[in-house]
Symmetry: none
Subunit: 542 residues, 2 copies
């Protein structure tokens, strides 16, 4: 055996172990470039996690490159990098296994080894013997520990295995512990457990480990959401004494996903009073969750606990006045602790109280202006009656408010527009739009006539409107329409129905939604897009 390098010292205290870059990227439709992975790792470090599992070097070329680049490019302040890998191959000496060598070569201080702990998988999937699997665990852990690595063992299919053959599953854990593993991670790989089972199984396991002289082993948990209980199962494990939880930001992962690490850490910190993170770190949670959503191109679901856009949103109406008096009666925690905000949803039940609150949220103090509030409430009611919805379209609501205040500038006066879609005799589809307007702004109005082709009538209208505005307001090109939602209201009139269109726009440091309503999708889209440019130009200081 070569000289032993200095061993990696264990990190004291509770472990928040993030596996977004490994297990999270198993999610359908999620792929990460090396640059993406580095960016995600930086965010995770800011979030204050203890470990960042970067991938499987040697098995996945992109992950090998990630660890190579991380060594030079990634400066972690809180987190330690972990590489994921497997125990040695059956029948192959550990020193000759290239997969194991690649783990050492990755330079990661911590190596997390997946080990089969369900006998059925040992014989059915690995196609080896119970004894050889134990040897694979022992050999690989010892080999890596001897090279100075901190080694964790993910006991794959632990819970199912324990229910099937607790003796064998316990033997695998004991073997890993005796060989020097720092954490034995109990994995609910198929995700079928319920919290009370987790509680009972860990209690039984404890007794068995003690009986085997491994009572001092540190335990962890890795849970999936197949019963909708990923977070609760991890919490049950923590209450049963484990001190290491694995999860992914935004709950990314195969099938139904892994335990959502942010929900988990917020619960542990805010609800179970564990002192895991500096307070200012948790307050970055919402920003970081959304930043990761952008990087992986899977936006955070509005319903996500703690960090979702709807997580602290209230449909106003009845409770608005009570919320104004004491918001804590209506929220389970202070949203600012996780960097989120209470938000009033403006809906047709909105009275003056909720509009006042909404105004405050947007930076307008309307408390002293009862008449303006009444006018606004009436305007909202009247517009929602014909199909507008300000629930999601904050920008359109703000334009309405600014309009009542006489503070929206005019960037143009529309004269006319036309959108044509056609299927030609040769089978080609064409869409084309014309926009005629007077461009406002400094200096005299200027009549602009613009035409554009698009891949549909709305796209063509958008492009023609930009073209007509561009000369006077070149900033329009800095905005991008990012999302476009159509809802047919009162659908029982068939194609006769009223249409509502929501458009999400980003650019010049802003991201906002506008709404348009009309008897047809083209007119509704036009209104939402036109409002988007007005709002974007105004709010970005043009």
């Amino acid at each position: 055996m070569p000289n032993s390098p200095a061993p990696t010292a264990p990190i004291p205290g509770f472990h928040l172990y993030d596996t977004t870059l490994r297990d999270g990227s198993q999610q359908e439709g999620l792929t990460l470039s090396v640059a993406d992975k580095l960016a995600v790792a930086r965010h995770l470090d800011e979030l204050g996690v203890t470990f960042i599992e970067g991938g499987w070097p040697g098995a996945v070329p992109r992950d090998t490159e990630f660890f190579a680049r991380a060594a030079g490019e990634l400066e972690l302040r809180h987190a330690r990098l972990a590489a994921f890998g497997a125990t040695r191959k059956a029948g192959v000496p550990v020193a000759e296994d290239p997969q194991v060598a690649a783990l050492v070569d990755s330079g990661a201080p911590t190596i997390t080894l997946v080990a089969k702990s369900d006998l059925r998988h040992v014989t059915g999937a690995l196609r080896t013997t119970a004894e050889e699997n134990l040897a694979m665990v022992r050999d690989t852990v010892a080999h890596l520990v001897a090279r100075g690595h901190e080694v964790f063992v993910d006991a794959e299919h632990f819970f199912d295995g324990f229910l099937h053959d607790a003796d064998y599953t316990t033997a695998v854990l004991v073997a890993a512990h005796e060989a020097g593993a720092g954490v034995l991670v109990l994995c609910d790989t198929n995700g079928g457990m319920l919290p009370h089972q987790v509680t009972e199984i860990i209690a039984t396991l404890r007794g068995r480990l003690e009986a085997a002289g491994a009572g001092d082993a540190r335990l962890g948990a890795h849970t999936h959401n197949d019963t909708g209980c990923a977070v609760a199962n991890a919490l049950a494990a923590v209450r049963a004494g484990i001190t290491h939880v694995q999860g992914c930001v935004n709950g990314y992962g195969e099938r139904t996903g892994n335990a959502d690490l942010i929900t988990l850490m917020a619960n542990l910190q805010l609800k179970m009073s564990m002192d895991l993170l500096p307070a200012e770190t948790l307050a970055e949670a919402t920003r970081i969750a959304h930043a990761l959503g952008e990087i992986v191109n899977m936006p955070v679901t509005p319903r996500a606990p703690y960090v979702g856009a709807s997580a602290f949103a209230h449909k106003a109406g009845l409770h608005a006045s009570a919320i104004r008096v004491d918001p804590d009666l209506y929220q389970h925690t202070d949203p600012q602790l996780v960097g989120n905000d209470m938000r009033m949803i403006i809906s047709d039940m909105a009275g003056r109280a909720s509009i006042e609150l909404k105004g405050r949220e947007l930076g307008f103090d309307l408390a002293g202006e009862p008449e303006l509030l009444s006018r606004l409430a009436a305007a909202v009611k009247q517009r929602e009656a014909v199909g507008y919805s300000y629930e999601a379209a904050d920008a359109s609501f703000e334009l309405l408010l600014l309009d009542q205040l006489g503070r929206v500038p005019s960037y143009s006066t529309v004269e006319s527009w036309r959108a044509i879609s056609q299927l030609g005799r040769d089978g080609t589809l064409e869409s084309e739009a014309t926009v005629k307007l007077l461009a406002d702004g400094d200096g005299p109005h200027e009549r602009k006539v613009a035409i554009a082709e698009g891949n549909g009538p709305v796209n063509a209208l958008d492009l023609a409107l930009r073209a007509a505005l561009r000369e006077r307001h070149p900033e329009v090109d800095e905005f991008e329409l990012r999302d476009f939602k159509v809802r047919i209201l009162d659908a029982h009139h068939g194609t006769d129905a009223t249409t509502r269109v929501l458009v999400r726009t980003s650019g010049r440091g802003l991201e906002f939604q506008t709404v348009g309503v009309g008897p047809n999708v083209i007119e509704a889209s036009w209104e939402a897009i036109y409002d988007a440019y007005t709002y974007g130009l105004f709010k970005s200081g043009v």
Copy 2:
């Protein structure tokens, strides 16, 4: 007091209480027409829930209409309809409270009353006294019970209230029980509980209820997902002895949503061996979850437990062959039990087996036609890859099948079409469409050129198409387009995205959905409408 009508008999056994139509519709962006609500209720009944909470008659005009129409149009086989309402106003005799009268007028056999059970809300939000609130609960429950209703009481903010002042919260429950409430529903209204708290609080409450002589009270739970534990909290409550759970299909609801009722029922039935539903009902869960997603225009998230498109999906690779040998090693339950399928990602989503099943549903026995099945699977796969979805569009799927069988007649050959929408200088909106086609059928083709105005481009196209077909096939006028849904796929391209349109048509004794996909909403709508006339004419024997 008037004569007491016969009381509504309690439903024995465990209650699955769905509140999609009431609390679920509090979700941001979710609005349901009365027709939508009736359609949702029919699906919920098929799913086998015990109660369907339809809304708040008297407070929400749409809900009043729902109950009025439900009496004549809704035939429920399993479920009982419940109306939601509040206890009487403070200081107003119950018999003079119009809100309470509207509950009686709704005709719903079961009334679920929300009652404040947190003293801070009684004084801070209701602005009444502790004593008056108790009287409000007693009076309203007794009033409704005397009129033959089964009455449940939602104890709002129960858990927070219990932690604040257990005496008062218990007193509210005891008052409701003594007045005749059939179930006392413990609500985690703000959603901040964790499972172990639910367990402990219910145990403590039990003792207090027994001490107050209300030990025989039946308890329920209503949980929200603000800590990511809605399902786990409900399960903890069930293990603590409650026998009534409330939730929403797909976890719809305010903020982070309600407990997902399907996840909950699948856990109870499959993991906790409770005998809640006939097996064949649970096997409809996936279909029903997705059908509801279509109705409310909020598709089921692929990561949803049990019913999501990814819930039993595996990234192929290492485990592929092992999965083929023994799938049960890699899945926590048999996906067919909930009507879902194991799916290897990167393999065809619609396998031959499901197409065979679908064909059988439509009356075609394809079991003996492996080659046709393969062709159909390939066609479905290819079309779904570009955005088609046959989940809701049975008619389009049947047309595809008939097309493979060479059995769809041609009613016309389209030459070209054009749709124009414009805003004129005088502010008038106009939409106009031209359709040119060869009308097929008996006798020689005949070229038809038709023009129509509509209130939008799609409406104009629909009318022009009818006009062009009318002479040869006058039956087209017997069809009505009843619903029209637009979804933008791949939304990150803004107005550049692909559009999917679903059209529901009725007429000549049929009601069916067709789907169209295209780079723009006009093209996609054209396809769906054109298919609708083809299908409608063919199936009604023209």
